[in-house]
């Protein structure tokens, strides 16, 4: 028994070292004075200052955040509708197609999704031009549409699995007590699945913020998201201000995840206290 627990401990130590050393090295070298990222030249925070002066990166970051927020909101709305249809409407005509279309983007190589969406936008553009004289500018709109199509799949899966683990009789009870379907959705279903929607929103936001391949296909001139800017810089080799940027992102994510962890631990503690209270109340 002792032997196996030493084995498990060493597996975890090596595994997490593999996962975290690259991230830690990014952080450490972000404080390196030297321009040669991996050769230590003393402590400095100059690259953070440079980063804040870099308009290109700041603009790209702002564009990415705007796209990510719009995308996450859209994906949560559409994904909730799709999840609701798949989990609650039984077998309707075309259900298989809907379920296929919501799960396929999860496993589709990004190069294919990106390519096919670009083809669509080109076709749509010429169609709109002929019909109404409209121009479908490639940029914010097309990137957001592409991201929604991708991330809506994730939200659908989350909502669908939350709904199928939710007791149907809650909704039936509300109906039995006189509430109509639309009202039941807003008063009963939505509040109960709200935590799932929040995590769906965050996931959609993160995926959108991080996406390079699909974005590169559907974006047009003048619309560069943060990953596109990073990619074009990184292609040319390491660069210390990218390390600074990485450090900031890692820091934000870590704070977010730890906050979520503490919040969930608190919830859990409260739930356990409530259970004890319930047991005592008998």
């Amino acid at each position: 028994m002792k032997q196996s627990s030493t084995f498990r401990l060493s597996v975890l130590v090596f595994g997490f070292a593999f996962l975290y050393i690259p991230i830690l090295s990014l952080i450490v070298y972000s404080f390196n004075k030297s321009r040669l990222v991996t050769v230590w030249g003393g402590f400095s925070t100059q690259w953070y200052g440079r980063l804040l002066d870099n308009r290109q990166i700041l603009d790209a970051a702002w564009l990415s955040v705007k796209i990510a927020a719009t995308n996450a909101t859209g994906a949560v709305i559409l994904g909730t509708l799709a999840g609701l249809a798949l989990a609650r409407f039984g077998r309707f005509r075309g259900r298989t197609l809907l379920s296929g279309m919501t799960t396929a983007p999860l496993v589709m190589p990004e190069v294919i999704t990106g390519l096919s969406l670009l083809m669509l936008f080109v076709v749509l553009d010429s169609a709109l031009k002929q019909a109404f004289g409209w121009n479908l500018e490639r940029g914010f709109t097309t990137i957001t549409i592409a991201h929604i199509t991708l991330t809506l799949a994730y939200v659908t899966v989350i909502v669908q699995s939350r709904l199928s683990s939710l007791d149907d009789s809650l909704e039936e009870a509300a109906m039995d007590l006189g509430a109509r379907p639309a009202k039941i959705f807003f008063v009963i279903t939505l509040p109960i699945i709200a935590p799932a929607l929040v995590s769906g929103w965050l996931l959609a936001f993160t995926i959108s913020l991080d996406d390079l391949v699909i974005t590169s296909f559907v974006s047009g001139p003048g619309a560069s998201t943060l990953p596109m800017v990073i990619f074009s810089k990184v292609r040319l080799g390491v660069s210390p201000d990218i390390n600074a940027l990485a450090t900031i992102i890692v820091l934000l994510v870590t704070i977010g995840v730890i906050a979520a962890g503490i919040f969930m631990a608190r919830q859990e503690k409260r739930r356990q206290r409530d259970m004890q209270m319930a047991a005592a109340a008998k």
Binding site: D167, S169, A173, D176, L177, R180, I192, D274, A278
Partner: protein, 380 residues
């Protein structure tokens, strides 16, 4: 079919041909694809009854209840509640409320908000809602828990919240799906009586679905026994236990010893059955309507036997056997007695005084006897 005469209860509303049923189920069938969940069921339930639908899992009892609530539409047939055809009326417009097996308490609402939910949907004034919720919580003794959330309550308390929530709208009909199924045994017995008291106090008609025959016997005014989507027998608990109309009902409710035999005497006031399985004849002190010479089954409940070491002083309805197993249960003892035909007979005897069970031991030869009124003659 063999019919056994039974004493008529003149007072009961269901025996009054003039009485108007409160709930009428008229030749209702429900199919899910190829599967027939409910098959051509007709049933009348009267005002203020506590009617139990009893059956094993998958017998269609819950589907029938859900059709009354409006969650399922019958494939054919009609349902009437208080004379109104319920076809096409959605659940939220039916004068019916349901208590769910899982209780289905809204987890994000307090006890008070749960109970008030139904009244809010009716758009009642706020102060009226408050009074009615308060009265209801008082009735189920939950006032001090009004501000708690469901997960802060014990199982018994949750059950009472669910009951309060379904009763607060004063429905014409309350449907209860396994209302006591989630409670432990001790609490269940206590709650059974509470439920009956509440029902009598409020005068609401209850339809209860249960798989627990003991629960059905304790609660109901009448029981409908269901099997494979059909109602097999409807009657008071006593009817069902003492006068089952089929082998299925006799075996489903309690224990029974079944002896196959042939009618050799068929008179209006008595019959005699020759049963090789028993190794003798069974004399029954009432007539049955059945074809002469037909194969019949005599059903005798374990507690209807008398077990003795000495041959009892009666000529009919006595048979000899050997004790194979004795199980001491405290309040009573169960004996398994083997007859000459190798058939095992189950007998229960109350332990009316201490060491009452000691006089009979394993492998002892004993006499089994029963009263001529005890056997129920069944043809299927």
């Amino acid at each position: 079919m063999a019919t056994n005469p039974r004493p008529q209860q003149q007072l009961a509303v269901w025996n009054d041909p003039q009485a108007v049923p409160y709930v009428q189920i008229d030749r209702v069938t429900k199919r899910f694809g190829d599967f027939v969940a409910v098959n051509n069921v007709s049933l009348k339930i009267y005002k203020k009854e506590l009617f139990c639908l009893l059956g094993g899992s998958g017998c269609g009892k819950t589907t029938l209840l859900r059709m009354l609530a409006g969650f399922e539409e019958p494939t054919s047939g009609k349902l009437f509640i208080d004379g109104v055809d319920m076809t096409g009326i959605p659940p939220y417009e039916r004068p019916v409320n349901m208590m769910f097996q899982s209780y289905a308490l809204f987890p994000h609402m307090t006890v008070e908000q749960n109970v008030a939910f139904g009244l809010k949907q009716d758009g009642l004034p706020k102060d009226e809602i408050a009074t009615r919720v308060d009265d209801m919580l008082k009735l189920v003794r939950l006032q001090q828990f009004a501000k708690r959330k469901p997960h802060q309550l014990s199982g018994g308390q949750r059950q009472r919240v669910a009951l309060a929530r379904s009763l607060v709208k004063r429905p014409k009909l309350l449907l209860l799906d396994e209302p006591l199924g989630a409670l432990d045994k001790k609490l269940r017995e206590h709650t059974q009586f509470e439920l009956v008291n509440l029902q009598e106090q409020l005068g609401v008609t209850f339809v209860v679905v249960t798989h627990d025959q003991e629960e059905a016997m304790t609660l109901s005014s009448r029981i409908g026994v269901m099997n494979q989507g059909e109602i097999i027998q409807v009657g008071t608990p006593k009817d069902i236990y003492e006068y089952p109309n089929s082998k299925f009902v006799a075996e489903f409710i309690g224990n029974v010893n079944m002896f196959e035999g042939r009618l050799i005497e068929d008179e209006p006031d008595h019959v005699r059955i020759d049963s090789p399985e028993l190794g003798g004849t069974i004399y029954v002190d009432h007539g049955v309507s059945s074809a002469p010479d037909a194969t019949v089954f005599a059903a005798i409940r374990p507690e209807k036997f008398n077990i003795s070491v000495e041959r009892p002083n009666q000529t009919d309805n006595v048979v000899q056997g050997t004790v194979k197993e004795i199980a001491y249960m405290g309040d009573m003892s169960v004996y398994l007695v083997q007859l000459a035909s190798n058939k095992m007979v189950r007998i229960t005897q109350p332990n009316t005084y201490r060491h009452a069970e000691d006089s009979i031991t394993w492998d002892q030869t004993v006499y089994l006897s029963w009263h001529a009124s005890s056997p129920v003659v069944l043809s299927e």
